[in-house]
């Protein structure tokens, strides 16, 4: 087996050198525009044609049917090459695995090969404007009408929806059932009448997240994913895949990182530029930041191994998630302290992105479920502590109190 991996590694190395362009230092090419998405699809097609798409996906759905270890080997080798990282989250590591878990044979055959060829990009339609982290409180509704369902409502925080082909969409189909029992998951074509996708501008200028508005959108009954009124099981699985991916443990991620990373600010350089590299206080801050980053990686390794080997339960994936969210907050605070006023009022010609990062400091705790949700999961599902009292438990959803304000 390990010899097999070694020869696989050598073959991959050779293929990569022959077929993919390299990229400089910072790693992957960033992008949140149509061009970047187009490029990701092209790159994925190259991988697919070379036999390196969906390495750990089953053969019958367009994958290679190999082990996660093969994918890891390939990922190690692909470092330094231009890779379609935009497709990792949510397409490869969250949405497609859920189709694999819950899809009908037809759905799998329709979507998975297309995904692995780079022909289909998927997105999650889970969060709602009034919902926050209470995903099961969805009030977007789907009503049965003959062979079709009719979808109305709105979803939000879907990353890259404007560039996606299908959204995995959670909608309420029974208002008299308790909240978790009246939900159904649909595979919704994004570009069709009645779907409006609006990009949301964030404080750092990015507009990768979207809000969608559904106005009598027609969905064929065959596009239900999982059971009617069994949508929460699918959503839970999506969340599991998301935690795993964000925690760095997904077997379906292709390329070095789950997501295209913004390069880290170089604190040593920042301090040097500010003439403060000899200050012991500043040096300790620089070290603290490095220590947090190092330990974050070590924790990912430990928990991934723990879950793989059965020593830790699946929800332990929330541990590295929480660590990376909270330590990133601390690290951006440190970067600000090291840079001083130049961080927020950059001298003419100097890069001004540190301030914008600081404004987005909570990004890591908001994406993929907040740090609060992670703490709930760890205490309840890792430590086994009693669940929070839920006022909406066992109550017909039509009687549950809702937020006063959207947002």
């Amino acid at each position: 087996m390990s010899e097999d991996l070694e020869s696989y590694r050598l073959a991959a190395r050779e293929w990569l050198a022959a077929n993919l362009p390299t990229v400089d230092g910072g790693g992957a090419r960033l992008g949140s525009d149509d061009e970047a998405w187009q490029r990701a699809r092209e790159l994925q097609r190259i991988l697919h044609d070379g036999g390196y798409a969906g390495i750990a996906y089953p053969k019958e759905y367009g994958g290679r049917g190999l082990t996660p270890a093969h994918q890891r080997v390939f990922n190690e080798e692909s470092a330094g090459y231009e890779m379609p990282l935009l497709l990792n989250v949510p397409t490869f590591s969250i949405c497609a695995p859920a189709i694999l878990d819950f899809g009908t044979e037809e759905q799998k055959r329709e979507h998975l090969p297309a995904v692995l060829r780079g022909d289909e990009v998927l997105v999650q339609f889970l969060s709602e404007p009034r919902g926050g982290s209470d995903l099961a409180g969805a009030i977007t509704r789907a009503t049965r009408d003959g062979d079709m369902w009719v979808l109305n409502g709105s979803k939000i925080w879907s990353s890259g929806a404007y560039a996606a082909d299908y959204g995995i969409c959670l909608a309420r189909t029974d208002w008299e059932a308790p909240k978790h029992s009246g939900l159904t998951m649909f595979i919704v074509k994004v570009h069709q009448p009645g779907v409006e996708v609006r990009r949301i501008k964030q404080v750092n200028g990015d507009s990768e997240f979207c809000q969608e508005f559904f106005d009598d959108v027609q969905i064929p009954a065959s596009d239900v994913l999982g059971e009617v009124n069994g949508g929460w099981a699918v959503a839970s699985r999506l969340l599991f895949h998301e935690r795993t991916a964000v925690g760095g443990g997904s077997p379906y991620v292709s390329g070095g990182h789950a997501v295209a990373r913004v390069p880290e600010p170089d604190l040593v350089e920042l301090a040097r530029r500010g003439g403060r590299l000899d200050d012991p206080g500043v040096r300790e801050l620089i070290a603290e930041s490095h220590i947090l980053r190092t330990v974050a990686g070590q924790l990912v390794d430990r928990v991934s191994a723990g879950i793989r080997g059965g020593a830790m339960p699946d929800p332990a994936a929330s541990l590295p998630r929480l660590f990376s969210a909270t330590s990133n907050e601390r690290r951006i605070d440190i970067a600000l302290a090291v840079a001083g006023p130049a961080a927020v009022i950059p001298p003419a010609g100097a890069p001004g992105d540190l301030g914008a990062r600081y404004l987005m400091r909570q990004g890591g705790s908001l994406g993929g479920g907040s740090s609060e949700m992670a703490r709930n999961i760890i205490s309840e599902r890792v430590l086994g502590m009693p669940r929070e009292f839920a006022a909406d438990k066992g109550v017909p959803f039509s009687q549950v109190r809702q937020s006063q304000t959207p947002g």
Binding site: G340, I345, A348, G355, V395
Partner: protein, 364 residues
Amino acid sequence: MQLELTKDQEMFRRTVRQFLERESPLTKVRELADEPAGFDRAWWRQGAEMGWTAMLVPEELGGGTLSGQGLLDLALVAEEMGRLVSPGALVPVNVVIASIVDAGVGGHGKALEALMAGEAIAAWYDGSGVTASPAGGGYTLDGTAELVEAGADADHLLVTARTGDGLRQFLLPATAPGLTPTRRDSLDLVRRHADIGLDEVRADVDTLVGGDRDAAAAVDRQRQIATVLQTAETAGAIDRVFEFTTQWAFDRYSFGRPLASYQALKHRFADMKMWLEASHATVTAAARAVQERSPHAAELASVAKAYVGDRAAALVQDCVQMHGGIGVTWEHDIHLYLRRVTVNQLTYGTPSDHRRRVADLLAA
């Protein structure tokens, strides 16, 4: 907010708040982001009429206070400006006004008058990047004044310069030959900073503020005033953020109950409330000490800045977190506050600078 206001102060505060809500609400602040100076001179003149530039000036010079404690009155304006992330140049204008008044008006009467009337804006530089060399009875100034608030928009510049014999301060017209401001970007939407190059700038004796003596003590006092006004503004900003975030926690339901019913969040609100009240407490104590020229004034101003600088940023970030995804959208107003408190945190001395200042005073 100071807890106990006189009736005059209460009324003044209400007037300022109404004016700001009417004339420079957050929608206006967003518009001003595209203006070079970040604020409107006519608006500033109205503020001056209201008293924004009079509080640190004695009555005989045309100024006047509400309570007899001008800096405490002025801190009310700063707080209200913080509540609406207001534009303007409250700190440098008032610091320069106070400097002129403290030093004896001398030949700066016209400048003082223009500043008090809101007709002119002043900038202030207290760093160590400028040198003054004696030349022809006056001085020649060279160097770079970095990070000067309103530096590219001011009509007057109070610049601190090093000489072989201590510090001097000069009040220069922005039009003085050899002054070249370069704008810097800022995280704040409407607060502007510039670096000002000084290349053989001629400064006659009559441009001196405080005469031809070491200005170290004057600079200290100026810093204290700046710190009090800046921390008061920050305290006002976090007041408002805490208000609307608390309201959000009551209105927003998750799992059938309001966010405000979750103990983990309640406890964070309790911590934030504590930081908020402690911030007000230390700002008020600093304002009193500086107003009264207490021997502890420098220490208490630095205590306030170190505490408020760090806690305010933590509080607003925590409030962003409470809002979830919407808290990091351009559309939501909370980032205007985060920008302001962060810029306030890192200008006029970072919390770290002020801690070191406190340590110097303790270990002396």
